[in-house]
């Protein structure tokens, strides 16, 4: 299982994420329809963005799957985040007042 705090990047767009709450499902985390890989890992040269997964994602937002796995977008990109072919959903956060 991927460790919390792991940083991953897309192979087909600029998306980067950090794993906030891990689960086995994240082993099949994809961006733009193509599996995400650890930052710094080799990127497949012939993979392309799947038009069916090209809705993009938003910097600084959290995305969750159905079983509660959670990633945070640290760099936004053109691909949709998904586990397998099921798109992750944007997690709405209740804003907290500044406390520090």
């Amino acid at each position: 299982m991927i460790k919390n705090g792991t940083r991953l990047q897309s192979q087909v767009c600029g998306t980067q994420v950090i794993v906030v709450r891990t689960a086995d499902s994240l082993d099949d985390l994809r961006a733009g329809g193509v599996p995400m890989v650890p930052i710094g890992a080799a990127i497949s040269g012939d993979a392309t963005l799947d038009p069916a997964f090209s809705d993009g994602n938003v910097m600084g937002k959290r995305y969750v799957d159905e079983i509660g796995a959670e990633v945070l977008v640290t760099k936004s990109g053109a691909g949709t985040l998904s586990v397998g072919t099921i798109a992750l959903s944007l997690k709405e956060a209740k804003p907290l007042p500044a406390s520090d």
Partner: protein
């Protein structure tokens, strides 16, 4: 992965926004990032395994945190107010440190046999050094902070990159601040809130204005001149700010949010502040060093609702620390370890990614399921609001009965003749311990029997102080924690 990620995100979203203002220094996020790259290079080149900073902070706080992270080296911010001996003892506990000290503290650490440079020298070197090529593991220790050691030897709390990132990304919405927002930071750099402020505000996209040594008049001036929108203080600071505002009423039109925390606050002070600053949203933030800062928050709406409430249960919430932040689970456990229902008093246990619970030389004190014992006495109400009743170490056992000093203090401080108070339990041959109320009077000292009667009217008879003594002030740490042990020693030496 390191806390440096937070700076990278801020830089990519708002490269030219002012991130830090400290005296004459103003840095944009990009300038801070470039300087932290060089600072990281300077630290890596020193060969040090640890960085210790002794000074009043300001721009040095974010710079040190991010430089160390980029060098893959742990940093420690040390209490510059400590005696020479105490400072050296703490620094000696760090593995091969590079000591960075403000010029006025340089001499204190110069003879300690460590590599020492001044903050100015560090910044100069950072301007000309190449970035390091390090990438720490998320579970590497980012920051070590020493606990204040009010009851025992200071413990070295280890906070990992993952602890701190979980805290910031779990409690702060990225880039949510308005471009005009500004946070006034006056908490000491060696306090967890000082670390939290540097990371949280940057992540929120909020300019940080540093006040390196707290002064209430200067605080008010900075709020006005820098158009400060949010600020965080410890209760003793709030007390002094309220005194200034009472003497010289000043409008603080830009201030939207005023957070307080770090030690227990007296309710009359909160009410005073709410009245003096009716347009300000107050925030009570509760947390520990071991939990990477805030784990529960009582927000502005809760404050006003409780302040204006006629219903007792709702009004009582003014003394609550609010509800747990996202990602934090809480349990109240009884002495036998069972989890208690709402409404019962026990010890607070917390769990979450931001909770470290790990100390150098001791290791992790989390239980098998990841829960951390806060050693704070606490209660949850039916709606999940958390009430903190002091440290379990401070419990007085009088004639076999457990008495939480906070319970008596909360009642005493409501008496009009009481300005500050603390309740301690010196040893006693007959009762084991007795209850002594140490009171700083508001004006002339009242009759001790009047105060005892006041407590008796509100609490069970066993809570009535055996003695009431008066003092001109209470001994406190710089962050406002009352030094109970000092009072106990004093009372034991002169039992009158």
């Amino acid at each position: 992965m390191s806390i440096s990620l937070l700076l990278e995100m801020a830089t990519s979203s708002n490269p030219d926004r002012t991130a830090v203002v400290s005296g004459e220094i103003r840095l944009t996020t990009t300038e801070l990032s470039v300087l932290a790259d060089g600072g990281g290079g300077a630290i890596a080149a020193s060969g040090a395994q640890h960085v210790a900073y002794v000074g009043t902070g300001g721009v040095m706080v974010p710079l040190l945190l991010f430089s160390s992270a980029r060098a893959g080296v742990t940093s420690t911010l040390v209490n510059y107010r400590l005696s020479e001996d105490a400072l050296r003892q703490l620094i000696d506990r760090l593995p091969t440190p590079l000591v960075i000290a403000d010029p006025e503290h340089r001499d204190v650490v110069a003879g300690a046999g460590k590599q020492v440079i001044t903050s100015d020298e560090f910044i100069d070197t950072a301007r000309t050094s190449e970035p390091p090529a390090q990438c720490p593991d998320p579970d590497d220790v980012a920051v070590v902070l020493f606990t204040s050691g009010t009851t025992s030897q200071p413990k070295a709390v280890e906070l990992t990159h993952n602890n701190l990132i979980s805290y910031v990304t779990g409690t702060v919405e990225f880039d949510s601040a308005d471009p005009r927002d500004a946070a006034l930071v006056c908490v000491p750099p060696y306090h967890i809130a000082g670390v939290g402020a540097a990371l949280s505000n940057l992540y929120a996209g909020r300019k940080m204005v540093y006040l390196r040594q707290f002064d209430p008049i200067e605080w008010v001036r900075l709020v006005r001149d820098e158009k400060v929108t949010t600020a965080t203080v410890v209760p003793t600071m709030l007390d002094r700010i309220v005194s200034v505002l009472e003497t010289t009423p000043v409008e603080l039109p830009t201030l939207r949010n005023l957070a307080y925390g770090g030690s227990k606050i007296a309710l009359p002070l909160v009410r005073n502040a709410l009245e003096l600053l009716p347009h300000v949203g107050f925030v009570n933030a509760y947390g520990l060093t071991e939990t990477s800062s805030t784990i529960a928050v009582l927000g502005p709406d809760d404050h006003r609702a409780a302040f204006n409430a006629s219903d007792d249960a709702l009004a009582r919430r003014l003394g609550s620390v609010g509800q747990p932040v996202p990602g934090i689970e809480v349990q109240i456990r009884g002495e036998d370890g069972t989890v208690l229902e709402p409404g019962s008093t026990g010890e607070l246990f917390v769990r979450g990614e931001q909770v470290s619970g790990r100390y150098t030389d001791i290791g992790s004190v989390l239980d098998a399921d990841g829960w951390f014992a806060t050693k704070d006495i606490a209660l949850l109400d039916e709606d999940g609001y958390l009430f903190i009743g002091g440290r379990s170490d401070d419990t007085i056992i009088r004639g076999g009965e457990n008495i939480a000093p906070a319970e008596i203090e909360d009642v005493l401080v409501e008496h009009p003749s009481v300005r500050h108070c603390v309740v301690v339990g010196p040893e006693d041959p007959e009762w084991g311990q007795i209850i002594v109320a140490v009171v700083v009077p508001a004006g002339a000292a009242p009759d001790p029997d009047e105060l005892r009667a006041h407590v008796r009217a509100h609490l069970r008879r066993s809570r009535t102080p055996d003695r009431v003594v008066f003092r001109n002030e209470l001994p406190t740490s710089p962050t406002g924690k009352v030094l109970r042990r000092e009072l106990l020693n004093e009372l034991t030496r002169s039992p009158t």
